[in-house]
Symmetry: C2
Subunit: 514 residues, 2 copies
Amino acid sequence: MSYNGADALADVLIENGIKVCFSNPGTTEMHLVAALTRDGRIANHLCLFEGVATGAADGYARMSGRPAATLLHLGPGLANGLANLHNARKAAMPVLNIVGEHAVAHIAHDAPLTSDIAGLAGPVSKTVATLTEPADIARVTGDLLRDIQSGVKGIGTLIMPNDVAWSEAAPDNQPAIEIPSLDAPDPAAVSQAAKALQTPGAYLLLGAPHITRRMQELAQAIAAKTGATLLAEAATARCSRGGGLPGLARIPFQIDAAIATLEGAKQAVLAGARAPVAFFAYPERPSALLPETCEITTLCPAEADVETALSVLADELDASIAEPQKLALPPIPTGPITPEALGAAVANGLPENAIVADESVTNGTSLYPACASAPAHDWLNNRGGSIGYGMPLAIGCAAACPNRPVLAVIGDGSASYTLQALWTMARAGMNITVLILSNRRYKILSNEMSKIGAGEPDENSDPLMDLGNPSIGWVALAEGYGVAARQVSEATELRKAISLAMATPGPFLIEAVM
Amino acid sequence: MSYNGADALADVLIENGIKVCFSNPGTTEMHLVAALTRDGRIANHLCLFEGVATGAADGYARMSGRPAATLLHLGPGLANGLANLHNARKAAMPVLNIVGEHAVAHIAHDAPLTSDIAGLAGPVSKTVATLTEPADIARVTGDLLRDIQSGVKGIGTLIMPNDVAWSEAAPDNQPAIEIPSLDAPDPAAVSQAAKALQTPGAYLLLGAPHITRRMQELAQAIAAKTGATLLAEAATARCSRGGGLPGLARIPFQIDAAIATLEGAKQAVLAGARAPVAFFAYPERPSALLPETCEITTLCPAEADVETALSVLADELDASIAEPQKLALPPIPTGPITPEALGAAVANGLPENAIVADESVTNGTSLYPACASAPAHDWLNNRGGSIGYGMPLAIGCAAACPNRPVLAVIGDGSASYTLQALWTMARAGMNITVLILSNRRYKILSNEMSKIGAGEPDENSDPLMDLGNPSIGWVALAEGYGVAARQVSEATELRKAISLAMATPGPFLIEAVM
């Protein structure tokens, strides 16, 4: 076969370092399948549902710093991936969606699968581009790849009509795009931040696509020197933790706890963080979480070089980094799997260099603080709030870091949105441990209902929060998708199961009955 | 608690005959949950994934002729439901989405779940309305419900900010909206159609949201009288079949077969049908399937009163309806479950008054023709082409027709998109038989790849079409969601399993190994 548009696209992807594609193709993507799989140049992971593909691309970007591609079938295929693209967008992760489209002349005929692909892509995408002829492929794709990796990173959606893919094309030897470097610190902002941090009631709020170990060491040093209170945003796309780092406290999710945590703030210095806002609006509660009287100083936005800004700030303040201190692990838990026991079991079970995808929702209250004492690991949280991201994210982490064990801790309600991820894990033999927190409830909803002023769940409304009728059998679901699994209901047993699963190659699911 | 916006919305829904809601709510929908579940006035079915809710609403509309509501959580919840809304839109089914939104003042704060809900809804919706104050709820909702049930029916998306739901409201005693009646036949169009049908090479193409028994009897009579060839559209939202009706041939899905079927057409008379188009574009193949020289006459569009138009046309032609003739069932099949054996097994297993949701894809070639000889039943096909609609659709059918057995025949690839539907079936004890056609392949893709000119699957591309590594265990998946199941691999056994499952209350899954 002659060189066609699909081949041209594959070449520009390879030239620009795209190594992985999470795929759920259809007829309109068959030329792309041929080109993207040829010679195994790009690793293609088939996903049984598109939300798995997009969540995996998010996880891949978090752990590699680079975009993966997704290959999606027309508007409905993209639509199925939108919720996890929403999450990736809120985490400022670069993702390249390649979405097949009907041949250009076919679109006007309004065939069954015809839809407004660009319209569907718009709300989640930083850039949407529709290819119209093979000669444009290298330029348009290069521009899009540059855009989604510049400034606030984001989602690029490339719509490829089938005839552009199948038409003859000429190889285009454009060099790889250059990604602009991160913005350097602004000296005036550093001085202002230094001044603000030295006043009473100062808070240093930390955020970034990746809160590195070094950033935390610098921020802790600055806080120690100035007496400022250090807090991270409520959810971080990736945070290095454990291995002697002091625990990094976060702004709580729960509205009253968040307000209480911040009520003493007179000065807030934002280092990659945004001024904190409530997750939801509640009657008689503010949306902005800092006190109205608090002054806000921006050291740098999240898309800047936050680490260097903190380094310059630490120099200006003459703050020096403390020696790492190994924190004591919590005692090995026994008895029922309470939220506290869960935290202790995971902290004691985490091996060195693990990656944790945290979708623990209501049962995770002790999980994050307890794991501060674990060996060095990375912690990933959802910044978009759309549940069903944990298992897909874990796939992306495993694809980016095949030698690191991955733990996905997921509420049972959240896990059902994208359970098809189990199959892709099984196929690739990824070392992912899926820990399902099985309380058989959308527990967060029963907590929230009265808090938001809608009364207590009653016999009529409770069935919309109850997952116990029938109980979901996670061991059976895992086995159905080829993943070995077991159910545990005791905390010591849980700790052992986590250690064993993470030390054993391949995926494993643990259903923790809570 | 005082009467609030959510109560006002519930009242207008009840006033306008909305009896069922398929729900996956979150914090922003808690007031709606309280109001929509109060006193059990509306039947709420919790779905573990939003695509189940929207597909169920599609099925409900097909079998009841009326819209159901869906209750969805913000933009990402709507996003997860878009693919099946696409299918409902293409089937011209009325669906009312109620989508919670943050309180109005909270939106500008760009909280994690903030997104462009109206932007996401636009591509699938006939109408999108955002409520801004409680006093508007009755009027805006009434207008939307009228619009989605008038002319070409469609999707209405009602965005309800949380503060509109929780704010005090006054009961509004507006009367129920009136739905305009269907357009009556145009005498000139009837005369033209009559003339066209009496010329050589005439084709009568039948389509409608519901191709009734009477419509088929009239169309068969007209075809018999004029010598015209009668064909239905490739996919019909609902078609009455069996019980003595002659088999209604359809335009094939496969492009070359479709062109061959229509190549003799000199005159095409459209009775509720659109001029047929190819499902996909293929190199060197036309998009429009009728010969270029074929003249097209429109008796009436799908949104008109097709049955009356056919009746007037039959009168004009003096065509009279033939006596029903019981067709002979195919012999009870034995041996491996080939596509032919599948058709025979289902035809012999279908009880009187069944509803069949057909998502059989490549293995369904014999299914539709074979079932013409079964007892009277309804046949539902996907008009939008987005796979993952069969199980959700079946839920809606069962909710609309609790006393009719439902059979969903689904390829294994299609079934994985929305398998969470099994749980909702189990919870409600719906009499749904899910028949999974387990060939462990996206077989349609291996068929299509060479047809569209992308070569044959090879060792690199085949893994993107292969579902056999690992094999999906449908019995385990069903049991995980509380649905009894068994695997069969022989045709006689399959027929028995279908009969037994459909005669037994509650859901049952059969994995047919093909």
